[in-house]
């Protein structure tokens, strides 16, 4: 395959199916690979993200959101961790719906595992972004 052909292949528009797989992978960790019949990958990636997120909640971690109550730069500071948390897809949405992990009281923050929980919740979302890109690439034929 010539260099021009490879470049053309790289710039080809990804099919709609790939975007849907990416969306499914983001929404439910592991689903994007599961729908493509990649059971082992789905189990490993989905399992890791679910475990990380639930572990973070169990340790008393805090989920970030921009609620509009913040003043000045406060809202801006909440944005990057919220984007990381949002990577967990439905896990974040369900937690938001039930108010789990969004408590902002000193007693909650005083737990010895609070910071660990925060980190686990952030990492769960970021790892799921990686899994989402992987599912997208597989569906688009860019990856075996």
């Amino acid at each position: 395959m010539s260099r021009a052909e490879i470049e053309q292949l790289n710039h080809e528009t990804a099919p709609v199916r790939a975007w849907l797989m990416g969306l499914a992978a983001w929404l439910v960790p592991g689903l994007g690979h599961l729908l493509q019949g990649r059971w082992v990958r789905a189990l490993l990636l989905g399992g890791a993200v679910w475990l990380c997120f639930l572990g973070g909640l169990w340790m008393g971690g805090h989920l970030f959101s921009v609620g509009g109550n913040e003043q000045g730069l406060s809202a801006l500071l909440q944005l990057p961790p919220m984007i990381a948390n949002l990577g967990s897809g439905v896990l974040y949405i369900v937690s938001w719906f039930f108010g789990a992990g969004f408590a902002d009281d000193p007693a909650h923050a005083a737990r010895a595992t609070y910071e660990y929980g925060n980190t686990f919740l952030l990492i769960a979302g970021l790892l799921n972004y990686l899994a989402m890109l992987d599912a997208f690439d597989i569906s688009a034929g860019r990856k075996a």
Binding site: R41, L44, L45, G47, A48, V49, L51, C52, G55, M59, A112, T113, Y116, T119, F120, I123, L127, L130, A131, L133, D134, A144
Partner: protein, 56 residues
């Protein structure tokens, strides 16, 4: 001990994902996952010792 266990859990989870999404063959993925796990653990231990000697 709790800190070590949490660090290990974190390294396992991150290594599983990194190993799964990277490389092309199963052998390479396992090797890369193990490498990432060991690096997380080693760097974590190293940083913990450095922080231990800091007076603040």
């Amino acid at each position: 001990m709790r800190h070590f266990l949490v660090m290990t859990a974190f390294a396992v989870v991150a290594a599983v994902v990194f190993g799964t999404v990277a490389k092309d063959t199963t052998h390479d993925r396992v090797a890369y996952g193990l490498k990432v796990f060991l690096e997380f653990m080693a760097i974590g231990m190293l940083l913990s010792w450095i922080l231990y000697f800091l007076p603040f």
